[in-house]
Amino acid sequence: MATLHARSAARLMMAPAVVLLLGWMLVPLVMTLYFSFKRYLPLRGGDLGWTGFDNYVRFVTSSSFWPSVQATLIIVGGVLLITVVLGVLLALLLDQPMWGQGIVRILVIAPFFVMPTVSALVWKNMFMDPVNGLFAHLWKFFGLAPLEWLSQASLFSIILIVSWQWLPFATLILLTAIQSLDREQLEAGEIDGAPPLARFRHIILPHLGQAITIVILIQTIFLLSIFAEIFVTTQGSFGTRTLTYLIFQRVLESQNVGLGSAGGVYAIILANIVALFLMRIVGKNLDT
């Protein structure tokens, strides 16, 4: 049993991590809150005084606000859907006996090592370019007019690029989870003559529940703040302006730090709503 001594030692050992993260959270947060109530325009001389809630009102009433929330949710949701569904299928396939499993795993894992800027540049120029991209050549080969990916299917293109980067992560976690599944249980199901689909639904899927939750949680944290992929490809045009990108435009392109900071506060609120929602589920699933 944990003694009193152990408890205070434990608290001491947690202290560095907690203090560091508290500082990392509070200092920028307080400064962001401070700026958000200011008219702060660096190009017009900096601090131009307090403005109350003006920035907050202006940020939400701007015509770009709701579309940006929507774009954020579509991208996060789309990527999660694709990576989880394909991840499960791919993990199931990779779990089967085959030749050269190790090499296939190496191939599948590769996109995870590619930095987002590079992957966005490669996809944008060498695949999605409507004249010189490989997709354009492929489409023409089949006698179709090349698709203008980044303008006509902008959201889908971004979802595709980001999913490519995160599919390996989902697949690996799910694969490890499947491999830990009790073989005997599966084989018993096989002998009972349960059809593959039923086996999947009643034995495999429940077992994967927790792994899927983890995938969703971790990915959401990273996906809410994707930036490089949009900056490199569409720069927020064609409905791909996410909340993160909108804040970027306010702070860096318009150099309106006050307005951008108010946006930052909204983004924190949105992230926390999503987080709360997720943690309800994860919290339940994490009880072991």
């Binding site: 434990a10 991590a17 920028p28 996109p111 971790i218 944290i221 900071s261």
Partner: protein, 276 residues
Amino acid sequence: MARAVKNKQKIINTVAAWGIGLLIFFPVLWTILTSFKTEAQAIADPPVFLFFDWTLENYAIVQERSDYMRYLWNSVIIAGVSTLVGIVVAVPAAWSMAFVPSKRTKDVLLWMLSTKMLPAVGVLYPIYLIFIQLGLLDTRTGLVIVMMLINLPIIVWMLYTYFREIPGEILEAARMDGASLRDEILYVLTPMAVPGIASTILLNFILAWNEAFWTLNLTAAKAGPLTAFIASYSSPEGLFYAKLSAASTMAIAPILILGWFSQKQLVRGLTFGAVK
């Protein structure tokens, strides 16, 4: 008969898995191939796959323009040191969460994760001002600190999930034998957790290596890592696919090779406690 069915199944599996694997890998492969073409061949219509005049000129041009080794070194230092410092801070925290849990342990853990949700763009200005005050702009130290803080929640969480799987009885036995807390962590816990720590290090090294917002915005000439290197090759004038590919290959090659060699360690630990 059953044997034949099994083999047939295995062939189908192999073909399907290889097909999908190659498909997923293809963009990387295509980038590497393109980096060996001339600019004209890079946009040839129809595209050429393997039968072109292989050339190294793109690599020569890229190297002449920017000092690759300096960027590489910065990447290694920033990703490496930030990960190691993170581990040093996180191991005690994860230990206490795993072995002396309290009612609030899970809340603390989830709170730590939630700090990762602060949108970086929103706090760039405050952080920039702080960095100016502390003289940390364009220093590796500054980036090491930021990278460490960004990844700390993930490190704590991963370590926590590994530690939790270590049976408490072993620790208690050690304690009975008179081991101090320090001994317990150093000689009992750490050896058992080596696979977990290894994969934590790997994952966070990769995350820090690929981080492209802070590394670009807080550096100038001295501390820029490979993410800054690549920023000077996106969309230059004229034909650039081959040069872009060469620069891209140079930027991802080190981490790709490291990742492949260590993928067993990485995969083993990449469970976040999802596997019991």
